[in-house]
Amino acid sequence: MSSEGFSIPIIHNSISIMTPFLLAAIGGLMTELSGMLNIALEGLILIGAFFSVIFAAATGSLLLGILLGILMTILVSWVFGAITIYLKANVFITGLATNLLASGLTAVLSFHIFGTKGVLMFEELPPLPSLNVPPLHKIPVLGDIFFGHNVFVYMSWIIVVIAWFAIYRTPFGFRLRGTGSNPKAMIAIGLNPQNYQMLGILISGFTCGLAGAVLTLNLGAYVPHISSGRGWIALVVIYLGGKTPFGILGAAFVFGLAESFSNYAQGFIDIPADFILAFPYIITAAAMVIMSIVQNRNED
């Protein structure tokens, strides 16, 4: 196999694979900037995944499924936010509770509605539309890498750009960052920092809903715990990306690449499968270590 034939599909796949990380991390970034660690990303993705696929199946419309799935996720994030911010509960406890609630709720509803806690197949669901621009596919290497993905992939890139503008170029972004950096500065000018923290969480609800929808609608099926740690990796991505949208885009790509590589390598490299599957997590651990070393260097 030529090296090009080997690497292009890996890169192409990694772009699809990174999309849920990217979406969840961008929303998580908004919460992070408002001064809160959003550890509920994992649960929110699961909520989005479950509800978007079952609503899509029930209504027969992908669009409705996505919208209702997102709506449910925003609702859950609102509850999480309200308890944390207005009732002043500890964000670690409420975040963990949200994650537990998500896994419990999806299992119970799945059993109640479909009679199984296992995989739900929705064969009649149409596949996600993908963007094909035949003339552009002919561009060597890039054409194959960047085109032919489903629409969510491109939407996530647009969201990255919008997030950048929102954070650095709008009053909202300034106030959000101001809240995270010094909430008392906000109070002193008569703005309520709690409202901006709430918005940060609701935005993470929106993007995690979308991230979940990508997972299930791409598959046409719901697999229990389909989020499988993506919310946690998204948290790492936020930090690795230096808490900036484009940094996150880069960091998410690294994780996409790692996972894509481990999927690919399982086929023919003679390494224990468990080790290969653990690859993205090893990358996470290594990235965290490297990052803290670099940070210490810079401080000296």
């Binding site: 300034f174 002193a188 008569g190």
Partner: protein, 511 residues
């Protein structure tokens, strides 16, 4: 003259404690005056101003401005009415520029949704120009000095068209030069028809700049006077209800044996041109108070951290009773008997949500264990009762220390540190923001330590404090010691000021 601002019968009680922070307070301010609001720590000054600025709502009472009664529900409403407040602690976002901080919450926009940074900078530059500030709108807050931050806070209010400016203890963290600059600014503002309410603990400043004085004590107004009619002693008498002594007899000099000694201590950081600490050498001996002063940003903070063992040094050595203690851990330092009263009382000196009695055993909790490894509650309470009375702490031993007034928090820290003192104690900015009586109490304790043979190091940017207390005075400039002499009549405020600004240097060229 008729009144401009009139607050009538304002009362405010704080829930849990039932404490009357403001008890039927009536404040009257005339247009175009600088009105000083003074009183001990916890007298209720900030509470009253928070009510005026809409941060808190009063339980009862009315506010009128220009004869019109107002409901001030939040700071935005206060801004609309022309009232602006500069808080005791800076309320700025470090990552933002001066201009971005000033416009935050009232941002100029382009294309309806985008933040217009250029317009923000232009508008802020106009305010700066008009009021003769010296600061550039593009600078980041993290790059400017404390004095400049305060200017930014004032600019923020002027940008919002404030006519009445409230300044809550603006001078407590400023250097002498910065205070004079601030006062020039205030006088300039008065000329432009603005009105200022100034809270401060420094009575010399009250005399220097205010037109009238309102004195608060324990939530009530005790007197209102024209500044010209009273002197500092009378003001302090009104504040505390008794006369406070300003002059200290320092007492005999005693034994002199070196306890702590720093030799050529330096800290260098990579991307920084000059060293942060540059060859610092001095000794602190028993029965001596060593005073170290300088303008903020010249290495005082770093020196504090080094002596407290919280910052490793790049080169040099530190000795305690002739044993090398260079870069040992803070815990090891504590075990050797270091007592330390830090600049940052709230973060470093105490655990705000923890009770007074628990704060009192933070550095000696091992002594309060029963044999089975749990705390001996009776012993802790006993200890706390003793210290509360010995140090005249106004507060209950079971309440979180964060609910105490600034002066009382500092007394708790003092009690904890000095109760265990062996032969050495470090004080850093011990009287920032404290009222006269609390400051005096701390000075007495410091002299008591000295009399007991303890070596005292006092790091302070307050020249008067250094002149009153120190036996030996060192001045820092750009990380170096530029003066080190025994205190004496030749070492005046002016001379020290020259060293602080780098105009004089005794050690240049001497290595």
């Amino acid at each position: 003259m008729e009144s401009y601002l009139s607050m009538k019968n304002i009362s405010k009680t704080f829930g849990v404690t039932g404490l009357k922070a403001n008890d039927n307070v009536t404040l009257d301010v005339r247009r175009g005056e600088i009105h000083a609001l003074v009183g001990e720590n916890g007298a209720g000054k900030t509470t009253l101003m928070n009510i005026l600025y809409g941060i808190m709502q009063p339980d009862s009472g009315t506010i009128s401005l220009n004869g019109k009664e107002l409901k001030i529900l939040n700071p935005i409403a206060a801004n609309k009415a022309g009232i602006g407040m500069v808080h005791q602690h800076s309320r700025l976002v470090n990552e933002f520029t001066v201009a971005q901080n000033v416009v935050l919450g009232a941002e100029p926009k382009k294309a309806a949704i985008f933040f217009d940074n250029r317009k923000a900078e232009a508008e802020v530059a106009a305010v700066i120009e008009k009021n003769r500030f010296h600061i550039s709108p593009e600078m980041k807050i993290s790059e400017i000095s404390v004095g400049q931050m305060q200017q930014v806070e004032i600019i923020k209010m002027l940008y919002r068209k404030a006519e009445l400016l409230i300044l809550d203890e603006p001078t407590s963290i400023l250097t002498e030069q910065e205070i004079q600059r601030l006062f020039d600014t205030l006088r300039e503002l008065i000329k432009r028809g603005k009105t200022v309410i100034l809270i401060t603990h420094k009575l010399s400043e009250v005399k220097d700049i205010s037109d009238r004085i309102t004195v608060m004590r324990k939530g009530r107004i005790v007197s209102v006077k024209d500044t010209a009619d009273v002197d500092e002693r009378e003001i302090s008498k009104m504040m505390v209800g008794k006369s406070v002594i300003f002059d200290f007899a320092k007492g005999e000099e005693g034994c002199r044996e070196t306890v702590l000694s720093l030799e050529k201590v330096s800290i260098r950081k990579k991307r920084q041109g000059h060293p942060i600490l540059d060859n610092i050498s001095f000794n602190a001996s028993s029965c001596e108070i060593v005073g170290i002063t300088g303008v903020a940003g010249n290495g005082l903070t770093e020196l504090e951290d080094v002596i407290a063992g919280l910052q490793k040094i790049s080169s040099g050595s530190i000795y305690h009773n002739d044993e090398d203690i260079t870069n040992i851990s803070p815990k090891a330092l504590r075990e050797r008997g270091l007592a330390y009263v830090p600049t940052d009382r709230l973060k470093r000196g105490s655990s705000l949500d923890t009770s007074v009695k628990e704060n009192l055993i933070l550095t000696s909790h091992h002594d309060f264990m029963k044999r089975c490894g749990v705390f001996d509650d009776n012993k802790i309470s006993e200890h706390s009762r003793r210290l509360i009375s010995e140090y005249k702490i106004d507060g209950h031993s079971d309440v979180p220390i964060g609910t105490l007034s600034g002066g009382n928090i500092q007394k708790v820290i003092l009690a904890r540190e000095l109760d265990n003192v062996k032969d050495f104690v470090l004080f850093s900015e011990p009287t920032w923001g404290l009222d006269v009586a609390s400051s005096e109490f701390i000075y007495e304790k410091m002299l008591e330590m000295r009399a007991r043979g303890v070596a005292v190091v006092l790091i302070s940017s307050n020249i008067d404090e250094i002149l009153t207390l120190a036996d030996t005075i060192f001045v820092m400039y750009r990380g170096r010691l530029v003066a080190g002499r025994a205190s004496g009549p030749d070492l005046t405020r002016e001379v020290i000021g020259e060293y602080m600004l780098g105009l004089k240097d005794d050690f240049r060229g001497e290595e």
